[in-house]
Amino acid sequence: MSIKLSKEEILKIANLSRLDLTDKEIDNFRDSISEIINYISIINEVDIAGIDNFFQVNDSSNILREDSENKATDFELDPSNFIDTDESYIKVKKVL
């Protein structure tokens, strides 16, 4: 059975993704995303009873860092990358 996402569904996903779509984009994404959702839905046929959902590429664990300050990285803060600054704060217009 093939799924076709409604315009409302696309808008809901877009809003949750913080994306603003034009009407043309809505149509375009409705088609392509529906097609892809239908394609990936073939996994429905796989029986996964009893299979672990804890996945790791490599079986490593407990990768922990000692709690000591380390400024070894060559990073330098570049406030010119910020949208705006006020003293050394990052300044954003109207958040609330």
Binding site: F54, F55, R65, E66, D67, E69, N70, Y89, L96
Partner: protein
């Protein structure tokens, strides 16, 4: 109509670590200039990757023990997705499905058990300062380790909620995982609250409000009061009851003493959690857990029991001593060489803590060796109790030589001198003496004071009183 308030608490505790949760930037940011503790990781720059702070994991394990949690050997981090300017990556690294601690509890004084669902590690957000028309962001706090402790909604009054919160505060501080300094935001409360209303034989539940970010016990209590009343009024006016999806998030305005609507939970609550792919899970070995637990020498409740049972200290006094880990440690250190435990505990609670509070000191300003010398001198009656108190205060506020101070206050044993001073004082205060003899007992204190003053404090007031009484009997009473 019967009304029951139902309260659940989410408590955020900033863990005491040198560095942030997922990077090596300093986590000690208080009063530092904005945006000075930042690196690609906590600034959320493209390509940066988190690495877990071992100390924070150890702290979480310790809290696990102190709050009777199951400490899970298998645990992992997840991403909680929501975009907000104070959340630089647009997701918070937290623990959703497999938190480190689950199913804990504490017991209130009444004996009521409050279950605690979970405690999980996560990262703090940046600080936002909202101004008219714009917001300022400081990333120093972004990425500081947090432990979120989530209770079951089992508290049915603000008193229970406060006792629960206080208990968490004490327990967590006692094992040293956080200072919980609320003025610095090191401990914050989110209150989930609604009412159960019995009316005409039916039970109604009001919609749950989550009041975010309360930063003192007092504001928590006031918010509970306000919100219970508000929900009741709303119920009476509109009759809306709890349904799936009608939970709201509210804020607290301390100046107005009001909660205010922030948002409906429904739409924004889709956090799309999934396992953090940048961090392998924890498979904590028994050894790792034991090593972490070995950092706890004693839990607060065990300390309390030992003060009462081993040191025979009254529970009221013992309660006050275990309120601060430092007080307890001080008690234990002094008790190694000073065995009058009850006397010691009284000195700590009535004198030392009072001085600490009055002058905002730490107990470390009371030198242990000097303090023991002082107590011994008093017990051996070399100096008076009141001199001892004076010296203690001086000792905590200034740099002094204890021997010299004690020598200066040694009790004067020259009987003739004492008697003649008493005589003189009584002579020159004849009127008062008469008043005393007529029944104004308060005068005695004054007379003693005069003598002690004349003796430069080098006498025990109790002894003075005895001698005055003798003198009165001898020469003033008929």
């Amino acid at each position: 109509m019967e009304i029951k308030v139902i309260i659940g608490l989410e408590i955020h505790v900033q863990l005491k670590t040198n560095t942030k949760m997922f990077c090596s930037c300093s986590a000690k940011y208080f009063n530092d200039s904005p945006n000075t503790h930042l690196c690609p990781v906590c600034l959320g720059l493209p390509g940066a990757l988190p690495v877990v702070n071992k100390k924070a994991v150890i702290q979480a394990i310790k809290v696990g023990k102190a709050l009777n949690f199951n400490i899970n050997s298998k645990s992992r981090f997840d991403r909680k997705n929501y975009m907000y300017p104070d959340l630089f990556k647009g997701y918070q690294i937290t623990q959703f499905e497999f938190p480190i601690d689950t199913d804990g509890y504490i017991v209130l004084k009444s004996g009521k058990k409050i279950n605690i669902y979970r405690a999980h590690l996560e990262e703090d957000t940046a600080k936002s300062l909202h101004h008219k028309g714009y917001t300022l962001l400081d990333g120093n706090k972004a990425g500081v380790p947090l432990l979120e402790i989530v209770s079951s909604p089992e508290m049915f009054s603000k008193e229970e909620a406060k006792e629960y919160a206080k208990k968490i505060y004490n327990v967590v501080r006692f094992i040293g995982v956080s200072d919980c300094d609320m003025e610095k935001g090191q401990m914050r409360f989110d209150v989930n609250i609604n009412l159960e209303i019995k009316k005409e034989g039916k039970i109604f539940k009001t919609p749950i409000s989550e009041i975010k970010n309360l930063n003192s016990f007092r504001s928590m209590e006031r918010a509970i009061d306000y919100e219970s009343q508000r929900q009741l009024e709303e119920f009476e006016k509109k009759g809306i009851v709890l349904e799936k999806g009608n939970k709201t998030t509210r804020g607290w305005n301390d100046n107005l003493s009001k909660t205010f609507f922030q948002r409906d939970k429904e739409e924004s609550d889709d956090y799309r959690y999934f396992p953090e792919p940048d961090l392998p899970p924890f498979i904590l070995t028994e050894k790792f857990i034991q090593d972490a637990l070995s950092e706890i020498d004693i839990l607060q409740e065990d300390a309390l029991v030992s003060l009462i049972q081993e040191y025979r200290i009254s529970s009221d006094i013992a309660d006050l001593i275990v309120e601060e880990r430092d007080y307890y440690d001080f008690f234990i250190k002094v008790s190694k060489s000073y065995k009058e435990y009850v006397n010691l505990s009284n000195w700590i609670v009535t004198e030392i803590i009072a001085i600490i509070k009055e002058y905002s000191l730490e107990i470390s300003s009371c030198d242990i060796h000097d303090f023991i010398k002082l107590l011994n001198s008093i017990d051996e009656k070399k100096i008076s109790v009141s001199s001892g108190k004076e010296i203690l205060k001086k000792m905590m506020l200034e740099d002094i030589n204890i021997e010299k101070e004690i020598d200066n206050k040694l009790i004067d044993t020259d009987l003739n001198k004492i008697e003649s001073i008493i005589k003189n004082i009584l002579e020159s205060n004849k009127d008062l003496v008469q008043k005393y003899l007529d029944g104004k007992e308060g005068i005695m204190g004054f007379l003693i004071g005069q003598v002690v003053k004349e003796m430069k404090g080098r006498i025990d007031p109790i002894e003075v009183k005895e001698k005055i009484l003798i003198e009165l009997d001898k020469n003033y009473r008929n």
